[in-house]
Symmetry: D2
Subunit: 304 residues, 4 copies
């Protein structure tokens, strides 16, 4: 397959002027990102790397990090995880307290904020130095020791994180948070502040396309069975209340972040990351969804 | 009207054994209250005081204090209040986040927790020494300088107040809280910890039966028009999602607290307080509701 | 009290141009009503009748009829009624299916559509000729044999009554409707089509101000205790999700209809009806609410 | 792959005694089905048929038929479909009116009852003889002229279909139903009454594994692109509020019915049907979900 040719077509066909979403503005650090950025990086199992545009520029991966913390927590505690978090799509915005209240503090899935906070709580319980150890895990699967948190983003999130404070206090009232809320929130905000380029993101997510092992070193990070289950969760829950739309249009498991990034994987074929900071009303990168839809349309293959 | 005779009948007719509710147990200080307590105090405009049982024993008035903080805030900022709080019955439990989320952080009314937290925020903004000044206000309308907070109760509430922390953080995320959440919560927990006997409670609420003026000193505390409006709010919102039931059975404006107290007023006739710590599933004193229903049935008069 | 003087002031002070609501338009028969109509009729226990404007013009009383069918059903089956309907304010629009579904087909109160449909079901079960017998009941309490249904309105309601069909089918699925849905709906639409003037409406509702007896003939229609309870329900549930607002502003039990009518009563003092077809966004007569607020402000008396 | 061996293992490992769900009982025709039935049929693209147990016994496919009517409607009106139905998981029970009301009569997806009723409405509009033409379509893709409706089931559904009547009336009130509700419901109940064996069901769904073409005749029924999209919808919406669980455990697109059937497909590999009438609390065949989980575990392949 002529992957570079397909990527070039995607870049050409997409006219930024047709995408009028808004850059995330709830914290100043995200608000000042240039909305015209657009890059894509495809990393295939058999044929290496393809890319275009701003694919080597760092951005805040935000909620995409939830898949990584899920992977680590799943590895640490196994199926006990599912006593505290469900695996159902939320059908509601990513920060809905209503649903969490109706369901007695059990988050719908690990990829919405409430679920990711429970995952953070688990990591805070099981890791000696949560922030340091989690970063080490990410660097290991990425095979890249330069990956880092963005301190300014983390601090700004903390300053404006009233809704996450509401979520975690509600869960604490239901007994579903073990540690001090302040400590868990601190870890959570750092986790979300991870900064990566499209290339780094695609490299990081290669383990989910490669049955749980890194491609470079062949090291198994998670079991194939757990990899399959994490992919399944990305498929049904990776895009808040637009998970169905993404599955319908793109047909791959993936995860988005309010920094404008989307990562997706085709098991045994490739991982792919795209970045375009303007978000649609559901909080997902408008241009990113279209780019990935073009990818599966032009290659003729999705998982369906 | 032979009020004492009627009170005696009520005391006789009510058999504690028929009431199997539960004493509030979410903090240890309330859990250790004796569930068998039962007292009632009626304070009439024209004929003074009537009572029975444990009417001179102190208990935690809890949410009943919300009417007092509402009165003070209404006096301080007038109708601006209603830009930040509605006056509709909630139809939902007193601490529902779901409703608050759907309604963008605007509480349904000032007598549910979220609404009382906004009132607390207003008092924190407008009072020099919120805790001290609010206590002075209560002592003034009660004409009783011994009324005080219960420090142990306030501290325990603070320790277990995760749900209130969730509520206030959610409202802060919507911009409906001006001050630091910690400061507002601290004031709120102290306000709720006020300790009174049935007699003191009836005396305190006499201003709402007496068109806004104290009976002892004749001092006007709130205008008749605002008194009427506060009474209206008590009628439709004073009993969480049992406001309709209380209105249906008793037919008077009133307010309950999880300490087992209920206060009600008959405008131009009397104020009445009853205490029985066992709560029904909706969080209201089971015996208190029955005692007040008997009162309006036996006197033959409610406001309807 | 100079009631006629007060009414004249109300008429003068209210400027129709300031009220920009919309005439109900979901059926053609209501849509063609002149939005500029405005009339008021006050009927006092001790001093007879006062009025102004279009107070002698017939209009469709619509949901106001729900109080009358409630009164008849309460008389027929007594407290059994409350096994099938609650007495809590809905906090939701008058035709909410969501709430009804969460609460397993038990309507929140008898004055929202679902509750009134259960009342209709009860009347269909217990009356030999439901439409005829109910009309006879209304004529009896009004002491006016000319009161009648509006056939065109009833037929139009039936033609467009999909939402009521949804409500009744949902309740039927929960086992809370005994008769055929078609038969109950037919009765319901006729009941709502009753046509009255402000004067007739005030006369009809006099029984609720007069402890259950007609004023003209002294005949007792409902017991004082049940009258008190119906008034309580009007207070907390008479204005859909604006019940708190009406209680707050006006301070009297009352009921509105989408035909633009509002009736209210001051127990032992008066009944009052006002008509202004333009509805506010909550479905209540905007001008009617203001006229009644002026009435209790100018007389200086509400029930609070 | 030794498919028959794997099926034999599944049959052996599953102990019916461990599955205590309940046979659907809302209509007598389903209630009398023997809960001990258990059969499975696997139909591979390259190696034909494998099966065990009661795989040749007819049962009511119920909601599984919704995928077939969706396929036909998608073919008839194309993407216009998505103006009237969304493609998001519901996160709520299959017959939720609450969600439908909040979302103004637009069903979450075509595989819940409300969505399937809109599909029925579309078919009633576009087919000359809806029941006959739809049956012909099913027979065509199955290459089996004996497939038929179960008249007794359809009539029973109609008799007890109050909740579906509620759904369709609610959508009609929002303008999302074009035809008479009675006519649409009649078609819908017949569609759901289709009777098939596991073998027939697997044969019918082969088109979704085979990029839209029948395997026997090679005839293209739907385009590959639309096939992919229907599969995506099955993945996120095929199991009501257990879609995430099925995706997590099984990892294949599929659809369940209250008759106890489940069908799933592995694109380009196989279609598979399993039947076990006892339902778990979410309304899906408990034994069927486990059998399919074993299938993807033992073969080592799902789409993830």
């Amino acid at each position: 397959m002529n992957y570079q040719g397909i990527l070039n077509e995607i870049e050409k066909e997409i006219d930024l002027k047709n995408f009028d979403g808004k850059v995330a503005s709830y914290i100043p650090e995200l608000a000042k990102v240039n909305g015209e950025k657009f890059g894509m990086h495809l990393y295939t199992l058999k044929n290496g790397h393809y890319s275009f545009g701003d694919s080597n520029e760092k951005f805040s991966i935000q909620s995409i990090s939830k898949v990584l913390s899920l992977a680590l927590a799943f590895d640490l505690v196994g199926n006990e995880l599912w006593d505290r978090i469900d695996v159902e799509p939320s059908g509601d915005p990513f920060n809905s307290l209503a649903q969490l209240e109706y369901e007695n503090g059990i988050p719908r899935n690990p990829l919405i904020n409430s679920g990711a906070l429970v995952i953070s709580d688990i990591l805070v319980t099981h890791l000696k130095n949560p922030k340091k150890d989690f970063l080490a895990f990410v660097r290991q699967i990425t095979n890249n020791p330069t990956i880092n948190y963005d301190d300014a983003v983390a601090k700004s999130e903390k300053k404006w994180g009233f809704r996450n404070a509401a979520l975690i206090n509600l869960m604490k009232s239901f007994g579903n948070i073990e540690n001090k809320t302040k400590k868990v929130l601190d870890f959570y905000f750092y986790q979300c502040s991870l900064s990566m380029t499209c290339k780094e993101l695609a490299e990081t997510f290669m383990i989910f396309a490669n049955r749980g092992a890194t491609l470079e070193t062949g090291e198994r990070i998670i079991t194939p069975s757990r990899t399959k289950r994490i992919n399944a969760i990305m498929q049904t829950c990776g895009f808040y209340d637009e998970a169905g739309e993404f599955t319908f249009r793109v047909g791959l498991p993936g995860k988005s972040g309010v920094g404008g990034g989307i990562v997706a994987i085709h098991p045994n074929e490739y991982s792919v990351a795209v970045w375009g900071p303007k978000l649609n009303p559901k909080g997902n990168s408008a241009i990113g969804m279209t780019a990935l839809e073009l990818l599966t349309t032009k290659t003729g293959y999705s998982i369906f």
